[in-house]
Amino acid sequence: MPLLEMKGVTQRFGGLQAVSDFNISLEERKLIALIGPNGAGKTTVFNLISGFYQPTEGQIIFDGQPTAGLRPHQVTARGIARTFQNIRLWHEMSVLDNIRIAQHHRLGYTIWDAFLRTGRFTKSEGNIDAIAWEMLEAMDLKDAAHELPRNLPYGLQRRVEIARAMSIRPKLLLLDEPAAGLNSADVDGLIKLIRWIHDEFDIAIWMIEHQMKVVMSLCEWIKVIDFGSTIAEGTPEEIQSNPVVIKAYLGDDTI
């Protein structure tokens, strides 16, 4: 059974068809990429999977169950975590709190437990703290735990955002342009980090990325979309030499 299946997914915004007839069957533990020119509809695909939009047509099935009708926090609780194209950390609270808050799906206590500081509350908060510190340790972010994200260098903010997503312990991690805005040293670090996460946590990773260095060195399968439609898919070697892809990226100069 595939981990994620999208069947004939179409998303319209008014007259604009941002995603048309999108199909994919993603197996567990795969590492794949979605590429395409700006405005092709890549982020929209991620927004559909996260439950941020309900598809105009088609079906999304995660872990054997359709996600239709679920709110984003429910989709996340099922095991899909993501990062954003523009970093979306909570900038007025510490890195540690950023990770703690992403544990809302496993709180397991009510507001009354919080008021009364019941055993259930203490246990859950202890558990959340342990998970948060473990993730900061694993991602080499311990020193930044009490910093505000906005005071960190951009590369580190990216890393915090990935740590926050991973602390949810997802089965599928969606990365929306993780290398955007990074310098080349940071990009090398990112490649290592993603490979390490993939091996260590044994999860499926799906990334949107423009930097071919990242895509080519990490991904086993690539899907290319343009104007919302799939124009090619295959291994990195196949995609690199595909004339349709090259044309989409370089533009049609027959005009």
Binding site: T76, W90, F115
Partner: protein, 358 residues
């Protein structure tokens, strides 16, 4: 042991105040001012949950105070005194001292249900539109009560003095003074517990990036619901205490001007700072009280130097020139308030040695 210094000092302070009140070392007037301080602390810190921590702009907080004031007043009058509404007291008045906390809690619960008036629209709107809805909620509450003749309509509702006097007849201690202190400690205590839990930090996450919060597994609608209901519920407790301190309630006491007082306190203290709200409430209460003396003094002084026409008297209405002026000056010169969004323990880290918060 050192960790409990602050808690012990606070307990000693409260006990000391009660004893001073009991033996009339502090007079009735001072007691009343202290009680309004407590009520303002509850009012401001509960408003801070919505306006500070959640980053919404509620301008109708007094509406919930009004609900709590009326709910508790009707309840305590009906339960513990003979009255026009149902005739004889429903319960033996001897129970009043014991059941008064229940009255406060019921008032809070009723007010928190009215919080739904703004919580539910908040799922779909934010910012300016929600602010307008909060003003509307304030007016709805006041208009409904003004049109309920059975509880006095625009003339107001009274009878709570008899409940309090009944308590005093049984045991002669300053009951309301004690209830206000307990209510204030209780409110600040649960708010602290809320905002320091991972659960409650979801409120700040919604404020800072709602989309990220929802996608990082925070049930944002639930968080908003809880924030509005806790906030309005505690405003209801403040209203209940207010009604029993005054012994009389009137819907117009809870109009938009009262809500503005709450805003001034929250912005004076600093958004998302509970200690800021507490300090601001204390300062603001003192300031308002001082105006009672300053305005007549100013009036006399201005007349003495012939700056005011003989027939004109500088009245307490001028308070409504001064309060908005404070707000304007504050926004101009220190928009982050006294504390910014920090707590006292953040400004003075050494304080942490002297208290523990469980």
């Amino acid at each position: 042991m050192q960790k409990y210094t602050l808690n012990a000092a606070l307990a000693a302070l409260c006990l000391g105040l009660v004893l001073l009140a009991q033996f009339n070392v502090i007079d009735q007037y001072t007691q009343t001012v202290l009680m309004f301080m407590g009520i303002n602390i509850i009012f401001a810190s509960s408003l801070n949950i919505v306006n500070g921590y959640m980053g919404e702009f509620s301008c109708g907080h007094a509406g919930f105070m009004c609900v709590g004031a009326y709910a508790s007043s009707v309840l305590s009058v009906v339960l513990f005194t003979s009255n026009k509404l149902v005739g004889d007291a429903l319960l033996p008045p001897e129970l009043a001292p014991m059941l008064f906390p229940v009255v406060l809690i019921v008032a809070g619960l009723v007010a928190s249900v009215f919080g739904l008036l703004v919580a539910l629209p908040s799922f779909r709107t934010r910012g300016d539109y929600l602010a307008i809805i909060t003003i509307a909620a304030n007016y709805i509450v006041i208009s409904v009560i003004e049109n309920l003749d059975i509880i006095g309509g625009p003339r107001g509702f009274h009878g709570m003095k008899r409940v309090i006097n009944g308590m005093r007849d049984m045991v002669d201690i300053p009951w309301m003074f004690i209830w206000v202190i307990l209510g204030t400690l209780f409110s600040v205590w649960i708010l602290r517990r809320l905002v320091n839990s991972t659960y409650g930090k979801g409120i700040s996450a919604v404020c800072q990036d709602e989309v990220a919060a929802e996608i990082m597994s925070v049930d944002t609608n639930h968080v908003k619901l809880v924030a509005f209901m806790v906030s309005s519920g505690l405003a209801g407790v403040a209203g209940a205490l207010y009604a029993h301190v005054y012994g009389y309630v009137n819907p117009q006491a809870f109009n938009i001007l009262k809500s503005t007082e709450g805003l001034v306190m929250v912005y004076l203290g600093g958004m998302a700072s509970l200690s800021g709200s507490v300090m601001a409430a204390i300062l603001f209460t003192l300031l308002l009280e001082s105006l009672r003396f300053v305005i007549p003094g100013l009036d006399a002084a201005l007349h003495a130097v012939n700056l005011l026409p003989a027939g004109y008297e500088l009245s307490q209405v001028w308070k409504w020139v001064l309060i908005p002026l404070i707000l304007i000056l504050l926004m101009q010169f220190r928009p982050e308030g006294i504390m910014g969004n920090r707590e006292l323990s953040g400004v003075f880290p050494k304080l942490r040695r002297f208290y523990t918060f469980k």
